[in-house]
């Protein structure tokens, strides 16, 4: 760990903070909670306490802003630089600023707290089913008033639990009219506006009048971003318009075409070529909690750490169950010392629990072994995905699932029952389209199954692959008898009949397959499309080598 020069630190332990404004991406209660949890990360291991102020000057003033936001260090648009904070001291020192050109979430996609409805403010559940159709975002389907809504359980048809999603028709935030909804059309500077606008502002935030005439009433509020809205570009807050035309081609989903940075974008009108209105598509976003916890580390006196797993490492990395690294704890305790006194204890029930709720001694004194998940929808990254007999198969830790031809997910099945010679953890598998033989790869070995007969294990170098190759991570069947084998950022072409790699290989993946992650951990052919996987996402490439879709493995392929 490192501290700032002179070991800058607060000279008191009761540190105050104030949230000056909110992002349109997240509702205020979710934002408040993220910041409170971020402070708790540090108060859990030090004697520091954090108290929120609602006016006046606090030690740590927290704000969202875009580009030039009032200090000498402007933000840089989407991605890149996410936030910054100043070490302890007076004035701007101790303050934390968050780049509002980012898409702020809890790190796993839209975190949408509902209002009204019958779900008591629960978070939207994506995907959810409504009238037999699956929805991965809020929708206005089923309504005539234009209000977008979502189910808060997986199946609306069954549970009937729903709430309304943030929209300017429901409420605004900030401003001066107690979060009243927008009134459309409204008049501003003599002009009529039918939607939220950034006109009249230099900070890029979208606003609307909350009465029919701003010029006379001066009542306004900021518009919350809908989950379907784009960020950045020149149409912030507008929804994607599908299909749209770009360079005379039609697109039905977000695309990275036209960009050199791989970022997904869409047009917000039906014709980009004519209207030139666009923005970036919603992604998983950045966890406000994780970024805030890092920035508050600076605000308390910690500089960047060289330890990659430390919270104070300068790069963002999403971690689901966040643990504070030893390095961070040592750093903050160097400045403020360890936490003293007892930890608060959770409240205990006052009634005597019935016998079946009393934990058995074994439950309280021993550690329950972790059982690998048998639910494919709980798995974040599969060992291998491949099409066998026209059915997509998903492999993980000795189990496999498959999508039936009718589109139904079935499994798990034990790999050991069908392919007993193969180890539980494999790296890739493919079916030779001509002979229907199955080739399994695990580490530096491979096996070939013909029905129930197996050959192997054999060393992959027997195929002509380099002896220092650690594993084969993906396979693409290319015509009859040829298969591309992927590893790292390279691929080889295997002549299946000759059982030998063709000359002229390896080749660099990014030189042949442009627009996909060049460090995919799984590559496979499905329904004639190449699929490149990275974490929970896949990039689908058509035969013209155009990436025509980026989607979720779980939602789109596994139908979770």
């Amino acid at each position: 760990y490192q501290t700032f020069e002179g070991d800058l630190k607060w000279d008191h332990t009761d540190v105050t903070y104030r949230i000056l404004n909110y992002s349109p991406d997240m509702e205020a209660p979710l934002t408040d909670d993220a910041f409170a949890r971020a402070f708790k990360v540090w108060s859990d291991v030090t004697p520091l306490t954090f108290r929120r102020l609602y006016d006046g000057t606090a030690d740590i003033m927290i704000s969202f802003g875009k580009a030039d936001h009032g200090d000498p260090y402007p933000f840089d648009g989407k991605d890149g630089l996410l936030a910054h904070a100043y070490p302890p001291g007076k004035g701007i020192q101790g303050d934390a600023h968050f780049d509002d050109d980012e898409y702020w979430t809890l790190g796993k996609g839209p975190a949408i707290q509902t209002r009204y409805g019958n779900a008591e403010g629960a978070i939207c559940h994506f995907p959810f089913e409504f009238e037999g159709q699956s929805y991965s975002s809020c929708t206005t389907d089923g309504r005539t008033d234009g209000l977008s809504w979502c189910a808060t359980t997986a199946n609306y048809d069954q549970d009937k639990k729903f709430g309304f999603c943030p929209s300017e028709l429901l409420f605004t935030f900030g401003g001066n009219d107690n979060d009243a909804p927008c009134v459309f059309p409204f008049v501003f500077d003599g002009e009529k506006y039918e939607s939220c606008t950034t006109d009249g502002r230099t900070d890029g935030y979208r606003w609307c009048a909350t009465t029919a005439n701003f010029d006379t009433d001066k009542k306004y509020g900021f518009c919350p971003n809908r989950d379907t809205a784009v960020t950045g570009g020149n149409a912030e807050g507008e929804p994607c318009k599908f299909p749209f035309t770009f360079l005379e081609k039609t697109y039905t989903s977000c695309t990275s075409e036209g960009r050199g940075d791989g970022k997904l974008w869409c047009a917000t009108t039906s014709n980009y070529d004519k209207d030139k209105k666009w923005g970036f598509c919603a992604d998983r976003g950045y966890s406000l909690f994780l970024v805030a916890a890092h920035e508050f580390g600076h605000a308390l006196g910690l500089d960047h750490s060289k330890v990659q797993d430390a919270l104070m490492y300068p790069m963002y990395k999403y971690i689901e169950d966040f643990p504070l690294d030893k390095d961070d704890i040592q750093g903050i305790q160097y400045l403020y010392g360890p936490k003293t006194g007892p930890n608060p204890t959770p409240p205990k029930p006052t009634t005597t629990p019935s016998s079946h709720t009393i934990p058995t001694p074994s439950e309280t004194t021993t550690t329950t072994p972790v059982i690998p998940s048998k639910d494919a929808c709980e798995i974040n990254e599969f060992d291998s995905i491949t099409e066998i007999g026209k059915e997509l198969h998903f492999f993980k830790d000795g189990h496999y699932w498959k999508m039936s031809k009718a589109g139904k997910r079935i499994g798990p099945f034990l790999m050991s029952e069908k392919w007993p010679a193969v180890p539980a953890v494999i790296n890739t598998v493919f079916e030779d389209q001509l002979t229907k033989k199955l080739y399994f790869f695990a580490g530096k070995q491979f096996w070939v199954y013909t029905g129930k007969e197996v050959l192997g294990p054999r060393k992959i170098e027997k195929l002509g692959l380099p002896s220092n190759l650690e594993k084969v991570e993906g396979a693409l069947q290319r015509g009859i008898g040829k298969v591309l084998l992927f590893s790292g950022e390279q691929f080889w072409r295997l002549d299946v009949k000759a059982q030998m790699i063709d000359t002229g290989y390896p080749r660099e993946t990014d030189l042949v397959f442009g627009g996909v992650p060049n460090d995919s951990h799984d590559v496979f052919l499905y329904k004639g499309f190449f699929h490149f996987c990275r974490q929970g996402f896949y990039w689908r490439m058509n035969s013209k080598k155009q990436v025509d879709r980026v989607g979720y493995v779980k939602h789109d392929l596994l139908k979770c």
């Binding site: 630089l81 600076h298 060289k306 300068p314 990014d510």
Partner: protein, 89 residues
């Protein structure tokens, strides 16, 4: 991501993200995060001749200290991060 093949790159209106070469990206990154003292060495020649700035960055980010603008370093520079400089002048 690898660059799309046979694609026409478009200048998108209102795009805050600049289309930069790797060298331009590195130059800006090293300046922004304090690896190049903007007042002393404002030219690329200044840091490429010594490559100390790159080595310093690679050391800070836990990368192999090659002193060269290699793929791993470029990749690291493209990752989202905190805006507080790593090196203070």
């Amino acid at each position: 991501w690898s660059v799309p093949l046979k694609s026409v790159f478009v200048t998108f209106p209102g795009d805050a993200i600049k289309n930069m070469t790797d060298v331009e990206l590195a130059d800006e990154y090293l300046k922004r995060y304090g690896y190049i003292d903007v007042l002393k060495k404002s030219t690329l020649q200044g840091f490429f001749s010594s490559s100390d700035a790159l080595k310093n960055l690679q050391s800070n980010l836990g990368l192999e200290e090659t002193g060269k603008l290699d793929a791993a370093t470029i990749d690291a520079m493209k990752k989202p991060r905190c805006g507080v400089p790593d090196v203070r002048n």
